[in-house]
Amino acid sequence: MSVIKTRVGRRTFLKTSAAAGGGLMISFSWLASCKPGQTKEEILAMPKEWFKLNGYIKIGDNGVVTIFSPNPEIGQNVMTSMPMIVAEELDVDWKKVIVEQGKLDADAFKNPQFAGGSLSIKLGWDALRMAGAAGRRMLMEATAKEWQVELSSLTASDGVIKEINGSRTIGYGEIASKAVGIEVPEELELKAPKDYKIIGTSKKNVEGSKIVTGKPLFGLDFQAEGMKLAMIHHPPAFGMKIKDFNRDEIINLDGVIDAFTIDTTTEEPVWAEVNAFNTLIAIVGDTTWQLVKAKKALKVTYENESAPESSDMHAKRLQEDLLKGEVTDSRVDGDPQAAFAKASKVIERTYSSPFIAHNTLEPMNFYADVKENSALLIGPTQTPKTLEETTSKLLGIPVENIEVEMTRIGGGFGKRLYVHFGLEAAAISKKFGGPIKMIYTREDDMTQGTYRPSYLATYKAGLDENNNLIAFSVKGVGLPEGPIFPNRFPAGAVENYSAEKLNSTTNISTGAWRAPRSHFTAGAEQSFLDEVAELAGKDPIDFRLALFEKAKTSPVGEKYDYDADRYAGVLKLVKEKCNWGQDTSGIHRGIAAYFCHNSYVAEVIDITMNNGQPKVEKVWCAVDCGIVINKEGAINMIEGGVVDGIGHALYSELKFENGAPVSNNFNTYQLIRHSQAPKEIEVFFVENEIAPTGLGEPGLPPAVGAIANALYKATGKRYYHTPFSTANQEQINLEVG
C-alpha cells in the first residue's frame, strides 16, 4: 500500500465545493430490461437520487456509480482507462459504473484537461487514484459514524462496506447520502498494484454500443435548438489573404442566411493559435448541401502576403539550411571530427520526409453560441482550456463566462491541439448573432495547414578496425522546426558524438502531428543503425544492445534522455517473442525500437513481396509503459500506431505547387487501407510496477524504421525517403557549403 497526499499547499484536492455541485442531485428513474448490445445506462436501473462525492464521482442510491472522465476522448480510449483508475481505488464493481464525459472544469478535476503528448494517463495517475480513494474513504467514514464504530473496524470492496469482525454490511448507494461533504484527510492510502482488480484487466470501450449503433456522439453530430450551420472558405494557397468576395450574390442563394468575413487574429497569439489563414469567409445557412453549393458559387479576390512556395523550393531550402540554417539545439561529446578522421569505416546517409496532413476522419467543426458577454462552445478539441482562454481573448469575454464542452472526437493526431476552428465558430456566432455549428469540408480541412513539417537529416557513423562504433553525428533540419533530439539515443552510448537541430523557414503552417519529430527521427535513426550494424557485421539487435550496455555501464556525457535498461528490455522481449534469428523463406524481417512520450516500444515487422508490393504478414511489438491500465485498449492503441506508422511511411505525402497543396481529398492523398494493413499484430508488455505512461504516440515511430529495414531485406535496397512507395530513394547530394 502506498500513501498519497490529498493537499497541494493550502488547497484540499478533493473537497467537494459548492461549485462542483456537491450534495443531493435528483435524477429521473426508469427501469429497462436487459437486451444484448445495450448501453450500461440502458441496462442498469437508474437511481432516484445521485450523490456527488467529488468532481469525478457521483453515486446513486441504488449503488450505480457515475465517473466523469476528465480528458478529451480522441480515440486513445481514455474515456475507459481514466475512469478505470478511479473505479479501482473507489473499489466498485465495474459493471455498475457509468462513464460520462466531463466538461472543462478545473475546480472539479484539479488536473489538466487535454489530450496531447500521450500524457493523459501519466499526468492523471495521481489525481484519478486520489479521487477514487477519497470517495471510498468518505463512504467508509460515513458508515463508521452511522454505526458508531471505529473507521479501522471497517473494510470496503466492490461497492460494499463491511465490519471486519462483524456481520453488518452496507452498499455504497445506501450510505452515499451521508458521505457528501465529508472532508478527506491529508493523506490517503492507495492500493498496491498486486491488489488491483480493475487496472490491468481488459474493459470494453465504454461508448462501444453507442458507436456501433450510430448514436450522436461527435461534434459533427451535435444539434441545438435554433442552431444554424456555417461553412468557411480560406485562400487556396499559403501566402494569400482574402480581400473581397461576391457577398451580394451569395446571400441571395437558396438557404443562405448571411455571409461575411471573420478575422480570428488575436494579440500575442499562443502556440495553439498557429494559423496561416486568420481571415476567412463564413457562410451561414440552413443545410449543409445549400452551403456546399454556396461555397462553389464564391468569387473571391485575394492579396499576396508572402511568396508562394513549392515542393521543389522546399527541397532546395532544406538542403541549404541543413548546411547553414540556425542551430537551435545541439550536443557534442568527445571529438567527433578527430574520431571520424581515424575511423576505419565511415558511413553517411541522408533521410527526408515530406509535409503530411493529419486528416482526422471527422473534419474540423465546432458549435458556438456567443452572446453579448458569454459564450458556449461545444465540439471536438484536444485543448479545451486553451480554447476557452483564446476565445476570451478574441471576444473580450471573461473566461468565467465561457463554457467549453467536449464531444467525442473523430480523431486528433495533434490537429485538434490547435484552436483555430473553435475560434472561427465563436467569431462566426458573434457576427451572425446566434448559435451556429461550423463545419469544414474535407477539402477545407486538408488544405488548411498545421501540417507535419517536412524534414531532412544526415546521419554519419565511424567504426574502428574492430567494428566498434567510435563516432556518431546527426544534423537535422525542418520546415520550420528541426527534428533532432540531441540527448536521445545513441547519446550517452558513443564516445564521440554530435547532434544538431536546425530550423528553416516556410509560410506553410505546421504543428504537432502524432509523435512530433519522433516519427521522423525513429525512421531515420533506426534504419541508419541497421545499415551501420550491417557494415559492422553485427546482428542489428545485438548491436543496439551493446550500445545500451555502454550507456548504462560507462555513460558518455552528463546525461541522456532514456533508461537504458528499459530500452534494452523491449528489444530483448521482442527478440524472444518473434524468435529472432530463425529465418523463414520468403519472409523479410525488420527491427526498430524507439523511446518517446515516456514509453518504450520495439517492433519487428515481417513482410512478403507480391508483384513488387510489400505485404505485412505480422508485426511483433514489445512495449514498456509501466503499469498497463486497460490491456485490450492498450493493445488496440499500439496496433493503431503500427498501422499509422506503416501507412504514412509507405504512402502519404502532401506536395505543393504555387503555394497550394496538390492534394485536397482522399482521391489524391493516399492513406493506408484495409488491403495494405498488416495481417496480424501481436503486442507484449513488459510487466513492472512503474507509474504508467501513455500509448497514443509511442507505437508509431518504430514502425517507420522497422518497415524500412524489412523492405531492405526484401529488395536489397535501402529506403531513405518517405513515402517509400513512391519517392526516389537515391541519396541526396548535399553541396559542401
Binding site: 481529398n665 482522399f666 495481417k679
Partner: protein, 153 residues
Amino acid sequence: MALFSLSINGKKQEVDVDPSTPMLWVLRDHLSLVGTKYGCGIAMCGACTIHLNGNAVRSCQMPIEAVGESEITTIEGLSESADHPVQKAWLEVDVPQCGYCQAGQIMSASALLKKNPNPSDEDIDNAMSGNICRCGTYVRIKKAIKTAANPNV
C-alpha cells in the same frame, strides 16, 4: 425544392429538399439520422456507407432524386438494439478507437456478409478497402468480420 417520399429503416419519410441533395445530408440534416458520417464527400472514405436495397453504397454520392423506391437502411436501422451479428462482433472484438468511421465499416461489412457469409481475407480486403479507418483498426475489423461470420469459432 421538391417533395420526396423515402423508405428509411422500414419507415416512410417525406422530405422537401433540393433534388441534387446527397442522401448523406438528407439523413443528417433533414432526418437527424447522424450515424451516417461525412468524411470526404467524394466516395473515397466510406464513412457515409448505407444500404440501398441491401447493397452498400456511398450516400455522399447518391442524390435523393436517384433513390426512387429503393429501401434505405442506415446504421440506426441495422438492428433494434445493437444485436446484428456484425455489431455484436464489433463489440466482442472491441474494434473502435475514435469510432468515427465504424458505422460505415459496419454497413460495408454487413452488406458483404449478406452476400458472402464466409469471406476470405481477400474478399474482405476487396469489399472493405473503400472504407478508411484513420486510427488503423483494420486488423480488428477483419477479426470482427470473421467473428460475425463464424460466431462460435
